[in-house]
Point group: D2
Chain length 340, copies 4
């Protein structure tokens, strides 16, 4: 059935293949009178763009977003916002070698078995190129969330190398090509990844995304829990194999005492003394930071003689941020609908 | 907004609180002419029922399911199937102590902040009692999947204690109160849990659910990926804080070579040599076993002087199975709709 | 697929057959803290009830509604509200004569061809009994709309007999068994219908429903236009064969000048001088009365030796009101979600 | 909320304003391996195009459709199909006169009250230009329905002038600019409309759309009745104020005997002797022709000194056909999902 839409009240519907003329999406349900320009979106697109360092695939896509509808005289009109991104880097090539061949650990095989037809030119719809539209939609979601909500992501593990949490510095992320919040780890990672790259190998990663400033009460109690929708959004990103909220899998080893987020009254308001829950209780936001992590598997492409370390992992951070922003914007509107 | 439904083509909508007169759900979209009786559902309900051993809460609920519609002369008619479960064990009590108090690590606080009102009698809608209807709906989903598809779950970790994967025996699960597939581990766990219980503590768990016999081609490629919908379904279960598909978070530490599921031609058919992917590539089933895991946090109730080891963890296995069955049944119908 | 739900943000999902043990629905998405009791719903149920006069089927159903969830201490909690109505009048009978026979102008044939199975006991899911749950859901929708919005219906035509619009008096409706707003017409109708009844015949009807007090700006501009959703809601009622908004089919014969609803400024506010549009322009409410009409076909039952004049037509008015209330409540929440 | 999508399994999501750079839609859920080219769509676009005769607005839009995704080597791939239509005729003009003014019987006022902002350049999203994408989506729906299903429309009334049903000839429609199936009436209409036009007036119309070859069993029994979805689809077209199925409003004046569609057995198959029901019973297709009618109100534009007779009415026929085709394709997939 129709499965190319994400969200309920704030919803985007995407289209496009990696080797077609363009990709894009329709963002529907955005409130009116929100200031929005192409530049507001482009800034996030540029962060996701491949070809940023020697560690990622060198496809050169400017990923220029055009707004084709839904914005008039600098503000949203409340009608659908069509976003359009031309595919510029469609290097023509000889597909003879791969036309009749399923790439291992790719979806070539499952697509073909499902649809009985496949676009053999380079992944078609399964390509990570699709994630560009998520970032574009996420930029609009951020506008809906407003300046008081910050959605930020970081790579906390590359292969076997983890960050030291005590070193966390959000400002460090822009200073290295790995989205690494630990300056010391970033230096180690450079050597580690060069080594992986020289061996012609690849590695996976763990990415953490954090939303600050989300008001208490956003979410839904049963099937559309805020964490359930975040899990779906993150797991729908290419190559993601695991999702955690708060302390995640580590809670299995904890006792109830260790895992409890005690509350105290302070100036007449309840205050949490910890955030093992990751900012969500019973599917509803607590007002604390919302914390998610996702595992990205290593790339398994056999097509590039000198394999990039990670075709996608390093670019997945802005995509994860975007999906989180979209889920939050959707639930913000849902909450407003029901609870005023 | 309305968030009490799960699924798209095979959909159930649930209602009810732990201290109301009953709970139930409406299962909509089930194909006609499927043999279905109350006994077909009850067998799964009985597996989830609390009060099965000294390790879980002793609430005595028979959880008898009645079918109020949608079945005529022993088969489904294609119209909505209403399932109704009376709440029998509504021990009246004095709520004075908890009426004005938020239980830590429970959703009391977030419900109240969201809705401005709460049912203080015992969790209301946030209670794990709600999961009974998931199991009931899952029983119908299994009927749609048919006998060739098996959905089975097991507890693979309790607190710090993990199973030995080489010992896995599905038949072992029914022989211990822990859903443990490793007979040796089950013995160890008994002592471990008695110790936890004596300390008045609790612990978390990791549950693995596996679907065998799912045909290749089920799923959707982008936002409604089969793994994304499984992640949502599992993460929506009370107390779940993490979800993995296939090798999950372990893939972050793997190289592309280690993680690749190579294919060989055998009798003219492609055969996978491994299943790191957990039976899903690009959001679509490969025909291999579909493998998910979820982390359940330890209970944090402060109300019971002698705390049960795990108020919910041990009963979460049939709930996880049910959610997996529902997601698979939904995607089976979705696939049939689009691809015939 | 699952098609037993109506609405998006304010949504109800219904179940039950005319000869099963009960019927009911789950109302999801209702805002919290709305005062709601069973009596609030029962008052509307009583208006729809069969057996009210000699002109309608004499089935004796008390149609007592029970609220099984979602209401605590007299107010809605924001969680799903389950409504339950027992089927009392299930007279056991010999179905031999109709078991293998399709009743003309009934859905027996189409149900059987669709599902390959049918409930031969009396219409099953196609029975007008299903409309009882619409009225129950509509009662909750009215609560959401609040006292400032009035949704009222009237029968404006029975067979060939129309009312005189100049005689319209809302208070007249309760004084005759026909929901007729024209006291003089009501007297004529009594003789007309007695005559139809004596001939063993039946006749159709036209019902008009009017919503007053709906604020300007409710609705959606393209596919989910307010009038489109009203058309769907009314056309989904059993036996309805036509729906009009405002001047409806009469506009085909009008000129643009005749059909224009001119606006004037009055005290700084635009005021409409007419309401040919029926309170909706471009799918969005104008703030004027929203006016719909629907045509109900005559009953065609051959089972009752003395046929009731209209098995359903006369009881369709509260059902039409309920559907209008549900559409309006849904769009009110939708508007609040997007536009605040 | 997001309301720019139509359909459930076969779904299209549209975007674009009359004075933006382009309009378009994303068609999601189309089955794979259906032969589809731009020419297949263009043939239907050309039928809707303005500027076809002196009786309609002379805007010159080539309405050239481009397929940007979802089709590879001449067949659908099962992934979303993006359709793109450039707006060519964006004559720049001085909007001073209308910028601060609400056009009567247009949605200017309601849009502004809803969104607090409006695109004053010519209707924006409310423009009938939006209907072009419906025709494009409908062309794909026809492909899904296949050659055995024919969806055809005709204008059966212009202003006060009706056709003679005995003269109905589908072949006549292409021979006059009015979509009139009655050659004699078409001649009368020409003089009638010239007269209306000379007076600077306008008139409404009634359009009938008929689907032949729809198999028995398509549809849904309660809220998503086939007729309910058709009513929504047609009522969502600009300027439509009424919808009928089969004999529609005329059934109000009929007796049960007159309105009954008797069945006889013929060669072991039930055959209907009439089709007052318009091919739908209980929300499900009977296998007979599905017959709908819709009323289009007269245009009320005050902007054109020489008003076109009907800015939209005459072009609404292909739009109505398209909406009917989309509803049928959606229900065909829905039926396949549930009933196989």
């Amino acid at each position: 059935m129709a499965g190319s839409s994400f969200g309920t009240l704030f919803k985007f519907t995407s289209w496009g293949e990696s080797h077609g003329p363009a990709i894009g999406c329709v963002v529907d349900g955005a409130p009116p009178r929100i200031a929005l320009s192409e530049a507001d979106i482009q800034v996030w697109m540029n962060k996701r763009r491949p070809g940023q360092s020697r560690f990622v695939t060198q496809r050169q896509e400017p990923d220029t977003v055009r707004i084709l509808s839904g914005v008039f005289e600098g503000v949203t009109t409340g009608t659908p916002i069509a976003l359009h991104i031309d595919n510029v880097d469609q290097r023509s090539r000889d597909y003879g070698e791969i036309k009749d061949r399923f790439r291992p650990s790719h979806a070539d095989y499952t697509y073909f078995k499902k649809y009985g037809v496949r676009d053999y030119r380079g992944g078609g719809r399964q390509s990570a190129r699709e994630t560009a539209v998520r970032v574009a939609a996420g930029a609009i979601a951020r506008k809906i969330l407003g300046d008081s909500v910050k959605v930020r992501g970081a790579v906390v593990q590359i292969g076997t190398q983890k960050i030291e949490r005590g070193n966390w510095d959000w400002d460090a992320i822009g200073d290295n090509p790995f989205w690494c919040p630990d300056r010391q780890a970033a230096q180690v990672w450079e050597g580690y990844l060069d080594d992986v790259r020289k061996r012609g190998s690849s590695c996976g990663a763990v990415i953490e995304v954090v939303a600050s400033g989300v008001p208490v009460g956003i979410g839904d109690p049963v099937y559309d829990k805020l964490d359930a929708d975040l899990a779906k959004g993150l797991m729908s990103i290419n190559a993601v194999k695991g999702v955690e909220i708060g302390d995640g899998f580590a809670t299995a080893e904890m006792s109830g005492e260790q895992n409890a987020d005690e509350m105290r009254m302070k100036d007449g308001q309840p205050v949490f003394l910890a955030n093992h829950a990751g900012g969500i209780l019973g599917g509803i936001s607590t007002g604390q930071d919302i914390v998610c992590r996702m595992a990205v598997k290593p790339t398994s492409s056999i097509l590039h003689p000198v394999r990039s370390v990670d075709k996608f992992g390093l670019r997945a951070t802005p995509v994860a941020e975007a999906m989180m922003a979209c889920v939050l914007a959707d639930h913000l509107l849902r909450h407003r609908a029901q609870c005023g």
